[in-house]
C-alpha cells in the first residue's frame, strides 16, 4: 500500500461523502416515519428494492430521468395505500404490532418482487448520457455518481424546505414534537401520517432507483441497505432531521477511511460507530429525548 498523501485522502473522503449522501436519503425517510408515527419501518429496504424494480419498468417508457420521477411516485402511492389500509390500524396498539407488520411486509415484499420479476439479477446500465467520468486536475470521478449526489442533495433540500417553510411541514414537525397537543388544537394527524409515510418510502424508492445502475437489481438488494439505514438513523437520532444527515455523511466518511487502512473492517465500521454512539449518547447525535409519540 503506497503512502497515503493528502490529495489521495481527500479523494477518498470525497467519495465517502457521496456514499454517505446515499445513506442519508434512505435514513431520512426512515427517521421521518418514526418521528411522526412512531412506526419502525422494517420494510424500508423492501421499498428501496421496489424503487429499483419500478425504475427498470418505467425507464422503458420515460427514460432514466422519467424513471427517477415516476418510480418514487409509484412507491409513494403503494406505500400510502398500505398505510391507509393496514398500518394506521396499528398506531393505537402496542408499538410492537407496527414493527411486526413492517417486518412481515418486508418479507412479503421481497417474495413479491421475486415472483413478479424472477429470482435472478436484472442488468441495468448507466444511461448513455451519464456515462464516463470528469477530471478535476488529478482527480477523476464517475459522472454518474456526481449525478447521484446532485439528486440526493436536491431531495434532502426539498424535504427540508417542505418541513421548514410550508404549513404542512409545520404540522408534521409539531406532530413529531407533541402529537397530543396538535390533536388538542383540532388537527387530525392521520392524513399527515399517510403523506409522511408516502414521502418516506418515496425517498427509499429514489435511493433504490439511483442505485440500480451502480449495484444492479436483485430481490435481496433491500436487506443489507435496510440495516445500514437503521444504523444511520440510530446514530443520528430517531425522529430528527439533521441527525440522519450528519450520521449518513459520517458513516460514509468513516467507511471510506477504513477501506483505505483496514479493508476487512470496512463494512463493520458503521456498526462500531453505532455501538460507540449508543454508549456515549443513546438518543443519537441529535435525537430528542424520548417522549410519548404517535399519530393516533
Amino acid at each position: 500500500m503506497p503512502p497515503v498523501s493528502v490529495p489521495i485522502l481527500l479523494e477518498h473522503l470525497a467519495n465517502g461523502l457521496v456514499v454517505g449522501a446515499y445513506y442519508t436519503t434512505l435514513a431520512l425517510g426512515l427517521s421521518l416515519i418514526f418521528g411522526l408515527g412512531g412506526v419502525i419501518n422494517l420494510a424500508h429496504g423492501a421499498f428501496y428494492a421496489l424503487g429499483a424494480y419500478l425504475a427498470l419498468e418505467t425507464q422503458r417508457l420515460a427514460g432514466f430521468g422519467g424513471a427517477l420521477v415516476l418510480s418514487p411516485l409509484l412507491v409513494a402511492l403503494i406505500g400510502m395505500a398500505i398505510e391507509t389500509a393496514f398500518l394506521r390500524r396499528l398506531y393505537r396498539g402496542d408499538p410492537l404490532l407496527g414493527l411486526l407488520f413492517t417486518f412481515g411486509l418486508a418479507m412479503v415484499g421481497e417474495q413479491a418482487v421475486r415472483i413478479i420479476w424472477g429470482a435472478s439479477g436484472h442488468p441495468f446500465q448507466i444511461p448513455e448520457a451519464l456515462r464516463g467520468f470528469v477530471t478535476f486536475g488529478d482527480f477523476v470521478y464517475s459522472r454518474y455518481r456526481l449525478v447521484v449526489i446532485a439528486v440526493t442533495a436536491l431531495a434532502i433540500v426539498g424535504l427540508w424546505v417542505a418541513l421548514e417553510k410550508t404549513p404542512w411541514g409545520m404540522v408534521v414537525r409539531a406532530g413529531t414534537r407533541d402529537a397530543e397537543m396538535v390533536r388538542a388544537l383540532g388537527i387530525s394527524l392521520r392524513p399527515f401520517m399517510t403523506a409522511v409515510f408516502g414521502v418516506g418510502v418515496a425517498l427509499a424508492g429514489l435511493a433504490g432507483a439511483l442505485s440500480a445502475p451502480l449495484a444492479g437489481i436483485y430481490p435481496a438488494m433491500g436487506n443489507e441497505i435496510g440495516i445500514a439505514a437503521f444504523v444511520v438513523v440510530v446514530i443520528g437520532g430517531l425522529g430528527s432531521f439533521w441527525g440522519p444527515v450528519i450520521a449518513g455523511l459520517l458513516v460514509g466518511l468513516i467507511r471510506a477511511v477504513t477501506v483505505l487502512f483496514w479493508p476487512p473492517a470496512a463494512e463493520a465500521s458503521m456498526y462500531a460507530l453505532m455501538a460507540f454512539v449508543l454508549l456515549v449518547r443513546p438518543r443519537g447525535l441529535m435525537g430528542e429525548r424520548w417522549v410519548e409519540f404517535g399519530a393516533q
Binding site: 477518498h12 442488468p123 451502480l214 476487512p264 470496512a266
Partner: protein
Amino acid sequence: MIPMHRRDVLKAGLGAAAAAGALGFPAVLRAQDAIKVGHLTPRTGFLGPLGDYAYRAAQMAVDEANAAGGVLGRKVELVSEDTPNPGVAVTKAQKLIERDRATFLIGEISSASGLAISEVAQRAKLLYLNTGWNSDEGRGARCQRYLFHVEGCNTMYTKTIGLWQAREGKIRGAKWYFLTADYAFGHDLYRVSSKFLGEQGGVNLGNDMIATGTLDYSSYILKLRQIKPDFVYLNLAGTDQTTFLKQYKEFGAPFPLAGGVMDTIPFWAAGIDALSGYWQSLWYHDLKEKGSPEFTQRFVRRNAKPPDNQAWGEYVGIRIALQAIAESKSTASADLVRHLEKGAKFDVLKGREAWFRDWDHQLLQTMYVVRVKDKARSKDQWDIFEIVEPVPQPGQSLELIQPTKAENPCNLPAI
C-alpha cells in the same frame, strides 16, 4: 335417482379397489420406495441467483430420469432445500437425512456451507456430491470419504486461466493486485492464486479482503488507481462480482481484469457493457460438444432462458449419481463411493469423458478459456462469451489443471 343398494355399492367399491390394485398399486409402491435426491442450494442471499438456476436444472434432471422410467425401476423424487448460510445448511442437511431419508445429498454453492454439509454427510455416512463450491480445502485438508466434487476446485479455475495467461506473457514480471471475498472460498482462492502467481514469476502488490454483500466498491477502485497494477485479479463471488464489474466499468475500467472464478450468472447480470478480457469457464451454453446443445435447448424450452455453468453442474451431478446407482445396482452410499472411486466414467456433455480421482474425489474434466464477445456481435443478453479453447487440450492429460498431491494433500478416512 336410481336407488343404490348397499350390496351394489360394495361391489362397485371392491371392483374399483381391484382395478386400482392392478393399475395403481405398483405405482404407489414405487413412489414410496422412491430414490430421494436430497438437494441443497442457496435460493436467497448473494448466491441466490445461482441457486435458482441450480434448482431448475435439478428439477429437469429428475423429470428426465423419471420420464426414462426411473432408476432400478424406482421413481426419483427431488427434495430441495434453501441454504442461505452455513448454519441453516447444516440444519437442512440433517433434516434431509433424518426426516426425508434422502438416498444421497447433492448441491450447495457456498464453500462455507459446503464444508459444513460434508461433515454432516460424513458422520451419517451418506454420499454427498458437491456441484457448486470451489474451495481447495474441501478436496484437501477437509476432504471426506463420502464427499465427491463435480464442481471444479480453485486450483482448476486458477490454472485454466493462469496457464493460458502465462503462455500469453501476462504473468512473468507483471504486477497483480487482488480483491478477495472475505470468507472460506475467497481465502482459499487467494491462497491458490497468489501462490500460482509467485510460481510463474509475477509480482503480488497486495490484497484487499472485502466482505460479501458489499454494495460500494468505489473506494477500492480509487485505491487501485493509486496503486496502478498491471492486472486486477478478482476473487469475488456471486452478486459481488456483478456489483464490482459494473462499478469498475463506471470508473473507466483502468486496468485489465482477470479472476479466480467466473460464474456466468453474475456476468450476465453485469451486462456485456461492463465486461472485457479473457476468463475461464467450467461450461458455457455455446459449447458445441455432443449433448451440450441438446441440454441447452431442453433447458431453454422449460425456462425461457439458457442454462449457465451452475445449472450444468446440478444437471450433470444428478445424472452422475443416478447413473452410479443404476450401474452399481445399489443405493447404499458405501457401494456408490466404491463405484465412483473405481474410476467409473461419465458423459458430462463436454465430449471427453470424466471420472473422479480416487484420492481426492475431484471430477477430472475439461474447462475452457472464454473471451468477452464484441458487443456488436452479441445476439442477446446471454450471448456474452466466445469459447477460445478447451483446457487441457484434447490429447493432454486432464491432470494438467488439477492440484497435485503435494499441493493439496488429502487423507481419506475409511469407509
